[in-house]
């Protein structure tokens, strides 16, 4: 699982930096691929090649922000779940929103997990690190091309 990747879908450059910083603290930043929005994430997943570097297969987990311009997190989640290649891909919603409707919608669309971005910096780092550890190393990924 050494080439397992974590796809970070996040439109806020601040949050991108904070997430990468959290991963760096655990020396996991080289596992990260960043999509700066929903559309970019979909391109990465389904039209691979627009990104630097070779396509190294499906990410072990998608860390998906909810509130983004154009294709938001729920749109991306719906597309992931409706495509045979990505139907079982682990998707963790990672958002500032604590709206009940977002939580309900996410699970209805098939989210693997829903995590609120903690406000406190240490708690934030901790949350990112735990998610990465769990999905990259602990979780048994679904068989490829399922």
């Amino acid at each position: 699982m050494s080439d397992a990747r974590i796809l970070i879908v996040e439109d806020s450059s601040d949050d991108q930096m904070l997430i990468l910083r959290a991963l760096k603290k655990r020396k996991l930043h080289d596992k990260a691929v960043v999509a700066r929005g929903g559309d970019e994430a979909l391109e990465y997943l389904f039209a691979a090649g627009l990104h630097d570097g070779p396509d190294q297969g499906s990410p072990a987990v998608v860390l998906l922000d909810v509130n983004m311009p154009k294709s938001n997190g729920l749109d991306v989640l719906a597309k992931i779940r409706s495509d045979a290649r990505t139907r079982h891909m682990p998707v963790v919603m990672f958002t500032s929103s604590r709206e009940e409707s977002d939580v309900v919608q996410s699970y209805r669309l098939g989210a693997s997990s829903f995590v609120c971005k903690p406000f406190d910096a240490d708690a934030f780092y901790d949350a990112v690190a735990q998610i990465a550890q769990y999905w990259l190393f602990l979780n048994e990924p679904p068989p490829t091309s399922s």
Binding site: S12, D14, L18, S96, S97, F119, A121, F124
Partner: protein
């Protein structure tokens, strides 16, 4: 049979009495009067069945006597004896009222008796007829009275619809004298119409009106026609029309109202959706940059901590603290917004159990101070469980927070009677407050303590007030500085159910 014999001849009288005495069929009781005036006196005094009057001698009063008797006693049968060849007298006597005449010479015993008998018998029959006629007239009068006094107008029409008869009510209904109604062309109902409405001009006001008319066929004086009964239904029709108009207006008003309600509902839904969108963007758009501020402050401290002096470190701490405080404010505002728009889901709640749960949670997250808790048992209320839990979290949280300086903290939860609905209360022996500021307690962002004394945003009690309001209840507080505070709330009593 009592007979009065008027006979001036003594001998003739004897003869006649003798004749009548021979009769075997009738028993005659005969009284004799010599003169007419004597006869009248006798007839005045007692009843006789017939008078036998002798007019055979020229010197008697003649036919005038018949007339006088007949006038005075109209129902008395009079039989006249005449002389021979007195055909003229006989006819005059009959005209004057005699029943029959007999030539005296021919009047033998049996003839005289038979004629008298017939006269009496005829009178008996006549009397009976007169009585029957009287009965008939009385019955007729009663029937006529029924028709005349009937409140409904009654008309009899011939086959062409001309009025043959009208009663008083008809005269009133049409405002015409009875004789002016007769022969007037009234008209007939359409084929098969038994009940119909006709337009009338009401005589009192000269305004158009309506009458309900019922027609039945009848035979009137031997020919076919119609009996029509009419009743003025103008008032009823007016009342019905007024009712119809009112109903139509009511229906229109209802439609208008429904439209207004639908419009308002749409507006409210739009406003709610806007509020929803607003709180959503508040939670995301305001929180994200705050978190960035706190996050990068942390990064600054971690990465450049060595390069910064103590003053710089303090500034960073203040930035972090300020952003954290703002985040709390935003959270509380979101809570306030949530308690305002969340639909109420009423249920029976065991407040004693709920208060116990909330206190246990609060104590767990707080310091392990010595707290004396007294919760009245079996406090039940009807309300939204989640929202009432928020109320208790705030009130009990405050009670704990503002008792921070006490060595012996005492918190009490109970109920007092408050008019119709029970008032639940949460009491502490903490910092309390000055009653002069009691009205500020439940307003958002209003605080009675410095942030350095007790942390808080001033939203908690505003949320409590909002929740209680939404349940149809009210909230108030009593307190005294350094003695403690008691917060009361009701949940709207009966209508809260």
């Amino acid at each position: 049979m009592k007979i009065l014999l008027v006979e001036d001849s003594q001998s003739d009288a004897r003869l006649e009495i003798e004749f009548l005495g021979e009769s075997r069929t009738v028993d005659f009781d005969i009284t004799r009067a010599e003169r007419l005036h004597t006869a009248i006196t006798i007839l005045d005094r007692s009843r006789f069945d017939a008078v036998l009057l002798d007019l055979s001698f020229p010197h008697t009063e003649g036919v005038e006597a018949v007339a006088r008797l007949s006038r005075r006693f109209p129902n008395m049968p009079i039989v006249v004896l005449t002389g021979a060849d007195a055909a003229d007298l006989a006819i005059q006597a009959i005209r004057a009222g005699a029943f029959s005449t007999l030539p005296k010479a021919e009047a033998d015993a049996s003839l005289l008796a038979r004629v008298l008998h017939q006269a009496v018998e005829r009178e008996r029959v006549l009397e009976e007829l007169r009585r029957k006629d009287q009965d008939l007239q009385a019955a007729n009068a009663s029937l006529a009275e029924l028709v005349e006094k009937n409140a409904d107008a009654i008309l009899v029409l011939d086959k062409e619809g001309r009025i043959l008869f009208a009663n008083e009510a008809a005269s009133r209904l049409f405002g015409r004298r009875l004789q002016d109604l007769l022969d007037v062309q009234f008209g007939l109902p359409g084929a098969g119409d038994i009940v119909t409405e006709v337009e009338i001009v009401r005589p009192a006001s000269q305004e158009p009106g309506y009458a309900e008319a019922r027609f039945v066929e009848l035979i009137w004086k031997g020919t076919e026609g119609y009996l029509a009964t009419l009743r003025d239904i103008t008032e009823r029709r007016r009342a019905e029309e007024t009712l119809k108009t009112l109903n139509a207006e009511l229906a229109e008003a209802k439609i208008g109202l429904e439209r207004a309600v639908a419009y308002r509902t749409t507006e409210l839904e739009a406003a709610n959706a806007e509020l929803e969108a607003f709180s959503y963007s508040v939670s995301h758009d305001l929180m994200a940059p705050l978190r960035s501020m706190a996050g990068f402050c942390q990064a600054l401290k971690e990465d450049y901590g060595n390069a910064l002096d103590e003053q710089a470190g303090d500034y960073i701490r203040r930035i972090v603290a300020a952003s954290k405080r703002m985040a709390e404010l935003i959270d509380d505002l979101l809570l306030l917004s949530r308690v305002s728009r969340r639909p109420l889901d009423r249920d029976t709640i065991d407040l004693s159990v709920l208060a116990g749960d909330v206190l246990a949670d609060l104590k767990e997250s707080g310091s392990g101070r010595d707290i004396d808790v007294a919760i009245a048992p079996e406090l039940t209320a009807i309300g939204d469980r989640t929202l009432i839990r928020t109320v208790l979290e705030n009130l009990l949280g405050n009670a704990l927070k503002y008792s921070g300086e006490r060595s012996k903290v005492r918190i009490e939860v109970g109920v007092v009677a408050n008019g119709g609905s029970p008032a639940y209360f949460v009491r502490d022996n903490g910092a309390g407050f000055d009653m002069a500021y009691a009205d500020k307690l439940f307003k958002p962002f209003q605080r009675l303590h410095l942030e350095s004394e007790f942390a808080g945003t001033g939203i908690g009690l505003a949320s409590v007030a909002r929740i209680v309001q939404r349940h149809g209840g009210s909230v108030w507080a009593e307190g005294e500085p350094d003695k403690g505070a008691t917060f009361f709330f009701t949940l709207g009593g009966e209508e809260g159910r």
